[in-house]
Symmetry: C2
Subunit: 137 residues, 2 copies
Amino acid sequence: MFELDPRLENDTTAVTDLPLSRAVLMDDARYPWLILIPRIVGLTEIHDMSPAEIMQLTKEATTASRTLQSLTGAHKMNVATLGNVVSQLHVHVVARFEGDAAWPAPVWGVGEAEPYEGTVRAEMMERVKTELDLAFI
Amino acid sequence: MFELDPRLENDTTAVTDLPLSRAVLMDDARYPWLILIPRIVGLTEIHDMSPAEIMQLTKEATTASRTLQSLTGAHKMNVATLGNVVSQLHVHVVARFEGDAAWPAPVWGVGEAEPYEGTVRAEMMERVKTELDLAFI
């Protein structure tokens, strides 16, 4: 049965289930940061999926990137699958701004996550969920 | 006319032209590291390509990842498009090994590149070129 790795579960909040992957939001107010996790058990590399699954994940990640950039006005999107620590396949989609906490370096391993304040997270999640769900009706 | 960003040109050696993207090898012996650059002028985000181009780039990046892991026996592949410094769209495909110079952190911004010694680079490039060209006959 598909389950999120406990570290992903602990650091994120679920946004929505797309046709292939679960979309979650990183609990870090420094960057609008989605992670997509294909709901396939035991998967660690994109190239181990079937061609149809690879194309579907690409659609979902591309849509997430376009959506998050559009909603946030980000200067640049970072889309990456690393998995050196958490091997369960997951795709980072991070909205980057000139002058953000890690700019221009990658976000991983830089400082400590900062909690969202008030209703900011709920509002962002609602907007992201609406856009992503609409894209995959 | 398509040209590589001068920083990409300076840090890499061309391996082969795939149907959509130029494949180059990073001149850094610490990690087997390919970069794919779609030959499209003025491109910075994957989601700004056409659907057909997105699918083609996905095929090429997935093939590069599978090939590099197969040739090197890497523990994990890192596939990422960041572009915070060099905005020309480029996809990193990095073969990672437990205990490599940055493990388990991402490779960007860690230490200094190390030159390949002797014929190692030429041999790797020849093997990668053969496999990639065969995949896109």
